[in-house]
Amino acid sequence: MIQEDMTVLSHREIADGIFELKLHGKIPAEISEPGQFVHVRVGGSSGSAAPLLRRPISICTADLGHQSLTLIYRSIGLGTELLSHAVEGKKIDVFGPLGHGFPVDAVPEGGRALMIGGGVGVPPLFGLSQMLADKGVQVTHVLGFRSEKDIFYENEFAELGETIILTEDGTNGRAGRVTDVLKGIDFDTAYACGPLPMLKAVQTMIGEKPLYLSMEQRMGCGIGACLACVVHTTDRDDGKGYRRVCCDGPVFRAGEVELC
């Protein structure tokens, strides 16, 4: 967990308003699991007051050899819009890696893993899938997007294993939502990242099998100190009664915390 000014190696728009940002620095060496995130300060030129807070972005992939990591984000508001203007060679203030990611060991040797992603919930699943595929796990991806123009990394995922693309408006892949296709798929462990309604639907459908979910919450500190990002535990007898998304998560085993 370090704070450093990382250098932009490359930055490109890979789908409509969705950017792939490769950064160079010391943070990659600290990453322990796929699904961890970094906290990015944008527009923080000296004395600039806004945006004040950092923005949490999942680590998509990390390359230890090249000391680099890749983020994929949607330009959606004040901070991400400013970030989208970053140019090659520029420095960006990054704090990370933060939180707990997806447990790679939760899939048995030679087992099957199912990855379910929606929109900008897809990026951390790519790094996860790479690692699982590397250890010989058979990976299946079910990725939902709003429309054809929002799709990214389709080929990259396909190279790792079976990849089912869905769009809500049917402009590419199957029309519909990720939950429409889960029924037929066989797997030992599932991982999901995406909007809350998707996570809820997925949790209901998956039922008993192991499922890990990556959550989002508005954050302050990103390291567990401010209690901005809490979620209730489902177990009412849990000693604390809550978890912090930033440091106890963002990935939780399904059922550990309330989805709301």
């Binding site: 967990m1 704070q3 300060r41 923080g44 007051a49 806004a50 945006p51 004040l52 807070l53 950092r54 004040l78 704090f95 919450q217 508005r218 954050m219 302050g220 500190c221 990103g222 390291i223 567990g224 100190a225 401010c226 209690l227 901005a228 990002c229 809490v230 979620v231 209730h232 604390k240 009664g241 809550y242 440091c247």
Partner: protein
């Protein structure tokens, strides 16, 4: 050069993380040695454990942020048993922020907390805008604040710093009331009550609707209040509100603060406290000042 001496607090430097922005230190201890800090003000303690408000609990605003954490904490007993022992390992004094809904809660929490040897002073949080009962009232009526201060002073084994709310017409009257009631010092300022509305949902961003405004945006208000109050009271002031760097610390001292706390800036730059502490000696040198204490109130003493 940086050491300051206040009731109950012999500090190697005047910079401490503000209450609620540093929990009980465990998280930031992973980033740097807490012994560098002048003191640590821990998260508000209440008599019983509290979960606080629903989320979203934070929202960004121009030059600031809103929070409505709602005093989430494990309760005074848990804090004494599980959090303070870890802080005993450092030679950095701990200031315990205490809050409540009723006078009796405050008094019992203060009593317990002040007995702990790790705690060197109490910070009486009469001003948290994010709790439904009590809280805000204590912080806006001088007589009520004075009565609470007197009762807490009566049971506390440690000096009591009263943390004032800026959401009042007359901050000097508040300060004088708690001084007369026996406060050993003041903390200024807590957050300003604010709101942000989400254009998409058309409702307040925070689940609690209103929240406390902190960060650089409020610094001019804090500076003005400390400038006014420090001329009218004899007790020292721990200044806070939007501090981001060593220059801001010096501005607080010139206004009349004798120490400072850094809140929101910890979220912006997790290493901000040690950075400020390291920058201060050079700044003082370039000003020809041999002890930071010389700066206290200079803007109105000159």
């Amino acid at each position: 050069m940086l050491d300051v001496h206040l009731p109950g607090l012999d500090l190697k430097n005047p910079v401490m993380p503000a209450s609620g922005c540093f929990a009980f230190g465990a998280e930031y201890a992973k980033l740097y040695d807490l012994n560098q800090l002048g003191a640590i003000i821990i998260k508000a303690a209440t008599l019983e454990a509290r979960f606080g408000n629903p989320t979203p609990r934070v929202a960004e605003t121009p030059g600031g942020m809103l929070n409505a954490i709602g005093l989430q904490n494990p309760g005074v007993d848990q804090i004494i048993d599980h959090e303070l022992p870890r802080l005993a390992e450092y030679d950095t004094p701990v200031i315990a922020n205490i809050a409540g809904s009723e006078t009796s809660d405050y008094v019992r929490t203060a009593e317990k907390m002040s007995k702990d040897p790790v705690v060197r002073a109490l910070e009486l949080n009469i001003s948290c805008p994010n709790v439904k009962h009590g809280g805000i009232q204590f912080g806006t009526v001088p007589e009520v604040a004075a009565e609470l201060t007197a009762k807490v002073k009566a049971v506390s084994e440690k000096p009591v710093y009263v943390k004032l709310s800026p959401n009042v017409t007359d901050i000097v009257a508040m300060a004088q009331a708690v001084e007369q009631a026996g406060a050993d010092g003041l903390s200024m300022i807590n957050t300003l009550l604010g709101m942000r509305i989400d254009l998409k949902t058309q409702r307040p961003v925070l689940a609690n609707k209103t929240g406390g405004l902190s960060g650089p945006a409020i610094k001019p208000i804090a500076i003005r209040m400390i400038y006014e109050v420090s001329q009218q009271v004899k007790i020292p002031i721990i200044g806070m509100g939007g501090i981001q760097n060593a220059d801001d610390v010096i501005e607080y001292f010139l206004a009349g603060a004798s120490a400072v706390a850094v809140g929101t800036a910890n979220f912006v730059d997790p290493l901000v406290c040690p950075k400020i502490i390291n920058e201060l000696p050079g700044k003082l040198q370039s000003m020809g000042v041999s002890s930071i204490h010389e700066l206290v109130g200079r803007s109105w003493k000159l």
